[in-house]
Amino acid sequence: MSEKKEPTPKPTNDEVRIGVYVCHCGLNIAGSVDCAEVAKFAATLPNVVLSKDNRYTCSDQGQDIIKKDIKEQKLNRVVVASCSPRLHEPTFRKTCEDAGLNKYLFEMANIREQCSWVHLYDRKGGTEKAKDLVKVAVAKAALLQPAEEIEVPITRKTLVIGGGVAGIQAALDLAETGYRVYLVEKEPSIGGMMARIDKTFPTMDCSICILAPKMSDAGHNSDIELLTNSEVSEVKGYIGNFRVKVLKKPRYVTKDCSACGECTKVCPIVAPNEFDVGLAARHGIYTPFAQAVPSTYIIDMNLCLNKDGVIVCDKCMKACERQAVNFEMTSETVELEVGTIVVATGADVFDPSTLPSYGYGKYPNVITSLEFERLINAGGPSGGRLLRLTDLQIPKRVAFVQCVGSRSDRNGRLYCSNVCCMNTIKDSLLIKEHWPETEVYVFYVDIRAYGKGFEDLYKRARKEGVKFIRGLPAEIVEDKKTRDLLLIGENTLQKEIYKIKAGMVVLSIGLEPRKDAEMIQRLLTLSRTQDGFFMEAHPKLRPVDAATGGIFFAGCAEGPKDIKDSVTQASAAAARAGILMAKGKVTVEAITPIYSPDKCKGCGLCVKVCPYNAITFDKASKKISVIEAACGGCGTCAAECPFDALTQSHFTDDQLEAQVDAVTEQDADKKTVAFCCNWCSYAGADFAGVSRMQYPPNVRIIRTMCSGRVTPKFVERAFAKGAAAVLVAGCHLGDCHYINANYQTLKRVEKLWKKMEQSGLDKNRLQLLWASAAEGEKFANKIREMQTIVDGVKSEEIEKAKKVFEKALGGS
C-alpha cells in the first residue's frame, strides 16, 4: 500500500558541511538576542563551514542566500535559527529541496517562541540560550541523513460530522467536486442551528428559505449519504485511510414514510418540541419541523408507550397506510472507509439559568434569543406573533440584554460570541417592522458590528428608534401583578443608574463548545484551545486544518461564527479535503522506524507498544516487519526496544544523544534538559512564547514527535552528563496525538523515578508534564518550578547521579 520514491539517495558519507543562518525576525529575535554574536559563535562549531545572520531568513532574499550557499559552498546540511519549526520548517525544507538538498538534511533552532519572546528582558541569558540552541541544532544536523517519504493512497471519500449549514455546505461542495460524502447528523434532521433562526443578518433573508434548498440538495445528491439520528462511535486509521464506525440509531419509521402526518394525529403522546426549545408541542411520533431532511418521521422511544418492547399502543401503525412504522428497528453500526474528515459539529448555546440575577427560568417573560427566534418565526409556535409567555400578549416594550454568557469569566465565557450583537440588531429591526409601536431597548457592553453591511444595519436600527444603552443590567426583577420586568443597572455613558420596565426581556445568549466536544476530540485525537473549541493546525496559515492529518474544521466547532463565516470555512475545508483527495496520494513523513534485524532478539515488545499495529512479528524468523504506511511516526517502538534494534528515522538515538551532549557540554549543573512532544507540549512552549510569558532561560528543549519517543537512556545520559534536572513533557493522557503512546512515557518515567529513589537520588530532578498546546501558562509555570529545583541541586548530588547513570554513556 505504500511505495518508496525512486531513486533512493545514497547516504552522504563525504565530509559534513553545515551552513548556519541566524534570523533577526526584525526585532522579534534581535530585540532580545544578539544575533550577530550567535552567528559568530555558530561559526566556531564543528562541521560549520559558514554562519550568517540576516533580518528575515524566511523572506525570498533570505531563502535565496541559502540556496546560493548550498550550491556554491557545497553545503550538505543547513541549520536555521529563527522561529518555531511548527511555523517555518516546511518553508526552509522547500528551500533546501529547491537547491537540490534533501529536505531531511535541514534542522531548525527555535530562538523566537522558545527564546527571544520568553526572555524579553534578559538579553544576556537569551543570547547564551540561543547559542546553546544553535549548538544543539548543529549537533543534530551533523548526524542527519537524507530520507525519502513514502506515499499512501487516499480513499476518495469524506466523512462530514455535523449536518448544520457548515456541514451541509462542505458536503455539497465535495459532492459536486465528485467525491463521495457521508454526512453524519446526531439529530433526526439536518439543518442545525440555522434552521431554527427566523431571519439572517445583515440581509434579513428568511433563514429556512435559503437553507431548505441546500438541505434538500444534500438529501437528494446521489454522492451524499445522509446518516441522521447517528453518531460517530469509532475512528481508526490515519490520513487518507480512516476507518470509521457510525452508530445509526433507530427511527422506528422506515423510508416508506410519505410524511403525510396521519400518525401524529392519532399518537396519544404529547411532548415539548426540542426544535422549538419546548415552546411548541410535538407527538411521540413526529418530524422536528416542516422542512426536515430526511422527511421521514421518527418515534421518540423514551416517551412511546411501547418502549418496553411490547406494543401496547399501535395507533400510529394503524394510521400509516404505507406501513412505515416498525417497532422492530434496532441500532446498527455502519462501517465507513474515508480519506478525509470534516468536523462541523457546531456549538451549543449558553444556559442563562446559571445567572440568577437575570431571573431566567424564574420569570416567564425572560426568554433567550433562541426562544425569541422561534417566537418570531412564522413557522414557530406562535405563528410568528411575538407573544410574551404570561399573557400571550404582544409586549409594549422589549429589552435585549447582550453578552449573556460571553466576555465574562465570572458569568460564562471569556470570549466574544461573535454573533449576538448583530443578531440582536436584526431582531430589534424585526420587532420594529411588525410592531412599530413596541419599544425596543438594547443593553450592551459594546456593539461589535465589524462585518460587511453590519454597520449599516446598526445605523438602521438606531434610525428606527431602537434605544441602545451601554451597561448591562445588574439585576432584573418581576412585577408580580403585571408580570412586567424591571431592569436595573448603570448607564456607563451617562454614568447614571437606570431602572427600565419592559414587558419582555430577551437574553442574548452566547455560543459555547458542544458538550460532546471532548468525545469528538478523543475519537479524532484533536486538540482544543483554552475556550474549548477545536484548535486549528495554525491560526493564520492553516486555519481550517486540524493538527491531525486529513481532518478539517467547518463552522462553530472551531469557534463562534455567523452563517457567512461558517459557510466560507465549510467551503475552505471542502477545498482542503479536496486537494488531498485530488492528489490521491499523501506522503508520510520519513520519521518511521529503522530496523536492524541483526540486533533484534525477537522479544516482540515493540509490537505490543505500537499504537497503530504497524509492526508485525514473524514467529518463524523471530523477526519483525514494519508497515510504514500505517506507522504514525511516534517512535515509541524505538524507545521500547531494549536492544537498539529499532530507532526512528530523523529522530535517531545518535541524533538525540548528540543533542543531549550538546546541551550538557557546558554548565550542565545549571540547566534543565527538556524533551517536548511536537504536538502538545512543544506547541505549548511556543504558545507561551506567542503570549510573551516570561520564564527563566535555563531550559533547553529537545523536540521529539511524541513523548513516547523519549528512551530512558536519554534521560539517564542527561544526568550522567551532569544535568541538574530533566523534564519530559507530553500531551495529556487520552489526548495523545499518537492514540496512546504517551502511556508508555508515563510507564518509563515512573520506572526512572523508582530507579532514582532506589539509588538515593532526588526524583524531583526528573519532572513529567502533561501540557496541551493551549497551556502556555502551565508550561511557563513548570519552567519556573524547574528553576527552583535546579537551584536546589547540590554538586554532590550531581556527581552521584553521574555515577549512577554512567552506564548510559556507553552510547550506541
Binding site: G309, V310, V312, D314, M317, E328
Partner: protein
C-alpha cells in the same frame, strides 16, 4: 363509566357460549380475542370462514367463533381442514388448536400439510402441557419442567415448533406470546391474507395447571416472564429461537411466496381438461 354494554367483538362470538370455559388468565381467551380482532380489522366475510379445532381447552375455540366451525377428534383438525380446503378452496380454513393436539397425536398431519403447503392457517396455543386432562407432559414441555406425569422433572426434549414448521415447508411462520397482542393480531391478519400453509405459535399461559407446578403462582407472573424474557428477532434462524426462563425469542421467522397445494391442484386439473379438449 358505563356498565353492561355490548362488547364490540361480541358479534364475532356465539353469545350463548360466552363466558367461555377457560380459567382466569388462560391465554386461550387472548388468542381468541386477537383472532376476532384480526377478523374485525380485515372485515372478513364470515360466511366464507371455517374454524376447525382439535381436542383440549383451546379446542373449544371453534365453538366460540360465530362462523362455520368444526370440533374434530384428537389431532385430526389439520387433516379435516385439508379436506375442507381442497373441497372448497373459496373457504378460509383456520385451525386453532393446542401444542399436544397439533404436535403429538396430530404431529404427522401437521408436517405433511406444511410439506404440501396446503392453504390452511394454523394457530397453536402452546401452554407446554395437556391442560384439560389435568396437566400431563407433552411434546413442548420444557426439560426439567414438572407436570402430573413428570413429577421428577421432564427428561424429554421439547419440539421447537417454529423450527419444525419452517423445516416442514410452511410459507409463513411466527411466534408471539399472549402479551404481544398487537403483533399477534398483525400476524394473524398477515396470515389470513397469505397463500399457502401458515403457522403461528402463541406462547400462552396455563396459570392454573402448568404455571402453578412450575413456580409461577399467578397468571401475571407468567405474563411478567414473557415481558422480561421476550426478544423480537424477526427472520432470525428459527432453529435458534429458544424458549427459556431467561430468553424467549419471538418474531416472524418465515414469510415467503409459495404456490399453494390447492392452486397447483386446480391448475393441473384445468391443464388436463385442456388436453381433453384436444383429443
Amino acid at each position: 363509566m358505563v356498565e353492561e354494554v355490548m362488547h364490540p367483538f361480541m358479534k364475532y362470538l356465539r353469545s350463548e357460549m360466552i363466558p367461555h370455559i377457560w380459567c382466569p388468565g388462560c391465554g386461550n381467551g387472548i388468542v381468541l380475542n386477537c383472532f376476532v380482532h384480526a377478523l374485525d380489522e380485515l372485515q372478513k366475510d364470515l360466511d366464507k370462514l371455517v374454524v376447525v379445532s382439535g381436542i383440549g381447552c383451546i379446542g373449544r375455540t371453534a365453538g366460540y367463533v360465530n362462523a362455520d366451525s368444526f370440533h374434530t377428534t384428537h389431532g385430526r383438525a389439520v387433516a379435516f381442514g385439508t379436506g375442507v380446503k381442497l373441497a372448497n378452496p373459496e373457504l378460509e380454513v383456520v385451525v386453532i388448536s393446542g401444542d399436544g393436539d397439533l404436535f403429538a397425536i396430530g404431529g404427522n398431519h401437521f408436517i405433511h400439510a406444511a410439506r404440501r403447503n396446503i392453504g390452511l392457517k394454523v394457530i397453536c396455543a402452546n401452554n407446554f402441557n395437556y391442560g384439560m386432562t389435568g396437566g400431563q407432559q407433552g411434546p413442548t414441555t420444557p426439560l426439567e419442567a414438572f407436570t402430573t406425569t413428570t413429577p421428577y422433572g421432564n427428561i424429554e426434549h421439547p419440539f421447537n415448533l417454529v423450527h419444525l414448521a419452517a423445516a416442514s415447508g410452511a410459507a409463513y411462520v411466527a411466534r408471539w406470546t399472549t402479551l404481544h397482542v398487537r403483533r399477534l393480531t398483525m400476524s394473524i391478519k398477515k396470515m389470513l391474507q397469505k397463500e399457502g400453509f401458515c403457522f403461528i405459535e402463541v406462547i400462552s399461559p396455563c396459570p392454573e395447571i402448568f404455571a402453578r407446578r412450575n413456580k409461577m403462582r399467578t397468571p401475571l407472573e407468567v405474563m411478567e416472564w414473557y415481558k422480561r424474557a421476550s426478544v423480537v428477532e424477526n427472520f432470525s434462524d428459527p432453529s435458534k429461537a429458544e424458549i427459556s426462563p431467561q430468553r424467549l425469542v419471538v418474531g416472524e421467522f418465515v414469510d415467503v411466496e409459495k404456490v399453494s397445494y390447492e392452486k397447483l391442484l386446480h391448475e393441473k386439473i384445468s391443464q388436463i381438461n385442456e388436453k381433453a379438449v384436444n383429443w
